[in-house]
């Protein structure tokens, strides 16, 4: 515990802390932004499949609703991640540091996105562990 306290103190006092966290915040934004076209392409592709197989307008619309149900949780998770990453970046830009709450929200939002993303969309690794 003593060594841990020294480690935490070191991080708190390190001149590279802001730099490291800014790099991490950028990495999260880039990974999520890289995911955007892939996610939207998958969404478009599923909608096109609905149109191709629909035998009527009603059938097509019903299929669209099923696609929306599959993707809405992912779109919501990306919105939540954007809010959490904004808060993290704002805090870093304003104070040069991050509170545990802000980091925890960011981790939770990232892990939710990784959890709900469709199987066809590979969520890149940003070094955040979601296993507990």
């Amino acid at each position: 515990v003593k060594r841990l306290a020294v480690g935490l103190l070191f991080v708190a006092c390190s001149s590279t802390q802001r730099s490291t966290q800014a790099q991490a915040a950028n990495a999260v934004a880039r990974a999520s932004n890289d995911l955007q076209p892939v996610l939207l392409e998958a969404y478009r592709s599923e909608n096109e499949a609905c149109i191709a197989k629909a035998q009527s307008m009603a059938e097509g619309k019903a299929c669209f609703l099923e696609v929306d149900a599959r993707f809405d949780s992912t779109f919501r998770a990306r919105r939540a991640l954007a809010i959490a990453q904004d808060a993290w970046a704002d805090e870093l830009e304003r104070t040069g540091g991050t509170t545990a709450d802000t980091a925890r929200r960011l981790v939770a939002a990232w892990c939710e996105l990784a959890r709900v993303a469709p199987k066809s969309v590979a969520v890149p690794s940003v070094g955040i562990r979601c296993d507990g």
Binding site: A22, N26, S32, M57, F75, A103, G127
Partner: protein, 89 residues
Amino acid sequence: MVEEVDMEENIYAMLSQIAETARTIVPDGPVQQALSVMAVALDAGAALARAGSHDPAGQIERILSDDAMIARARDDRESALRAKFEEDE
């Protein structure tokens, strides 16, 4: 420059190890919360240091909104569906 990156990597490796050890022995609480800050920054920071990334000058990048693109995709699908069945008629 190379020396600087090596030194940073050593620091990341050392602190990652502390974070990893602490993660397994410290129950949920303030220390665990502080570790979550470290874990995010260290893991991503170490990967970036290895890739030779540098401190972003100026503003930190933000996540783009999907809303406009989702709205466009929904408009497009409605038009395409309508076109398919209007053609059939």
